[in-house]
């Protein structure tokens, strides 16, 4: 989970603890997702014992996380009126609004608390208060657009509302074909972080502008409201007006094709642009043993963890083969046991992997950054479903350019790879 969101979660939970006697409450979570599991870890650390995880998906029923069962939301109907008074449902999903409504429709009248505000676009209410709040938000968005236009003139705005390396990679790799189709000459990509600018710069010297996510959301809403035709929202899922993801309920469409065909309306055989890889690597990486090092990448946002046992078995295998061992880490992350930390920039990462010669990583956007890198590359996929679809992560994120794509469910026999 992103640090900002984790901080928001811990702050909101602390505020809830202060305002309510959570220790006396039966705690349910709604939505079996990575954020919910992170919240459960936090709750357990604080000494709480959540009762169940509510989830509508048939595929998730019977799953457990740390002895907490996933059950249908209808289970909450079994609570008596008095029991409901002593119950709180915590939600960290972006589907808060529809989950809130579903609980009320099920007759649940206990407290429902939003712990992270993932989705500032949605509130299922036509109350005066809500409409007023949304008007103010839209006005703030228009002001931000006006400031942008003072700085960037008539540049075409490309909104990238989600902080994900992989989404940005696909977005920018198909951008040239889309821009040619639409005759767009002067784009500025509006993103939520510097690392995303780095991904974009791997393809060309496009202009970028970094905004806080909440501000970008406001600008996007305002663009919709004022019908700003000098803009495009280049994402496959956000905000609510984009309904591409619904296609996954009926068909498996890998993420790159979602961008090619869904986001941009390009034909399936359209070739993406490939990134330009730095030809020279800084001498500060000369200490990495060329062709005989392995870089592990065990960390990823919004993805279930892979067990320590798997990583340790990989470490043992490569160590026995005489490899030097490194873990790619961001601030606050610890290297795996018996490995050294490594933190190259996004731009340097492909060349660092090439120098090392081997990469073993949890499937994340970082894997897309090194698709074209000449090295032995292995992607490990936790066993989970993509969103609320019936497709597994490996179905959606499979990388043709990697030597191995492995769904991790039991031990891996590294010597056979």
């Amino acid at each position: 989970m992103e640090k900002k969101l984790y901080d928001e979660m811990t702050e909101n939970l602390a505020a809830l603890e202060k305002n309510q006697d959570l220790k006396s409450k039966n705690i349910y979570l709604f939505g079996h997702c990575e954020a919910t599991l992170t919240l459960i870890d936090l709750l357990l650390l604080k000494g709480y014992n959540p009762v169940s995880i509510l989830d509508n998906s048939n595929l998730k029923q019977g799953k457990k996380y740390k002895d907490i069962n996933v059950v249908y939301p209808a289970e909450i109907k079994k609570l008596s009126i008095d029991e409901q008074k002593d119950t709180v449902v915590l939600i960290v999903s972006r589907f808060y609004a529809s989950m809130f409504r579903q609980l009320r429709e099920l007759g649940f009248n206990g407290r429902i608390e939003k712990i992270i505000d993932y989705n500032s676009y949605s509130e299922y209410s036509l109350s005066e208060e809500t409409i007023d709040k949304m008007w103010k938000r839209e006005q703030q968005g228009e002001k931000l657009i006006s400031e942008f236009e003072k700085n960037y003139g008539g540049a075409f705005k490309v909104y990238c509302p989600f902080n994900a390396l992989g989404d940005i990679y696909f977005m920018i790799s198909y951008w040239p074909a889309f821009a040619k189709k639409r005759g767009i000459k002067d784009p500025v990509f509006l993103v939520t972080g510097e690392a995303l600018c780095d991904v974009i710069s791997m393809f060309s010297n496009y202009r970028t502008a970094v905004y806080e996510k909440s501000d970008l959301d406001k600008m996007i809403q305002a663009s919709l409201y004022i019908n700003d035709k000098n803009s495009f929202i280049a994402h496959q899922d956000r905000p609510y007006v984009i309904n591409l993801a619904k296609a996954l309920y009926v068909k498996k469409i890998p993420l790159d094709k979602i961008y090619c065909c869904g986001v941009y309306g390009l034909l399936p055989d359209t070739l993406p642009q490939k990134p330009y890889i730095n030809t020279k690597l800084s001498k500060k990486y000369d200490y990495i043993k060329k062709g005989k090092s392995v870089i592990f990448s065990p960390y990823a946002k919004s993805v279930p963890k892979i067990s320590d046992e798997i990583w340790q078995s990989a470490i043992k295998y490569y160590k026995d083969k005489g490899y030097e061992l490194y873990t790619n880490v961001a601030k606050g992350e610890a290297p795996l046991n018996e490995t050294l930390p490594l933190s190259p920039s996004i731009k340097d990462f492909p060349k660092v992997v090439e120098r090392a010669g081997a990469f073993v990583g949890i499937r994340s956007g970082l894997c897309d950054i090194i698709r074209e890198t000449k090295a032995k590359k292995i992607a490990l996929y936790p066993d989970y479903y993509y969103g609320d679809t019936k497709w597994k992560a490996i179905d959606m994120y499979f990388i043709e350019e990697f030597d191995q794509n492995i769904e991790v469910s039991e031990d891996i026999k590294w010597e056979t790879l």
Binding site: N56, S57, N58, F95, A97, S98, Q102, Y121, S122, E123, Y124, S125, L126, T130, I131, M134, W135, R137, E138, R182, Q221, S223, L224, Y225, N227, D228, K229, S231, F232, I233, A234, H235, Q236, P239, Y240, V241, I242, N243, L244, K246, A247, L248, Y249, V250, K251, I253, K257, C261, G262, V263, Y264, G265, L266, L267, P268, D388
Partner: protein, 81 residues
């Protein structure tokens, strides 16, 4: 009650005649006032072909989905989420 709010019947490249009973082209007053201001309900199924953002219609235009698959996807049981 299945309904789609859409303006894409103006798109002559795609024939939606077989889905006429599903399509509501004008929407209701709340839709006109608020849909672009925020998502005030998830009861709506909206099909649009707007230059400002992507839409599921692109999958039909590029051959990834048939029209029938698109309609099935739009009306997939929302409570499955």
């Amino acid at each position: 009650m299945k309904k789609i709010i859409t303006d894409v019947r103006k798109d002559k490249t795609i024939d939606f005649s077989e889905f006429e009973d599903l399509i509501l082209s004008d929407g209701d007053e709340n839709f006109k006032k608020y849909y672009c201001l925020y998502e005030y309900t998830d009861d709506l199924t909206v099909l649009s072909d707007d230059t400002k953002y992507p839409g599921i219609l692109n999958f039909v235009k590029t051959g990834i989905l048939t029209k029938e698959e698109m309609i099935d996807a739009l009306f997939y049981n929302k409570k499955e989420r």
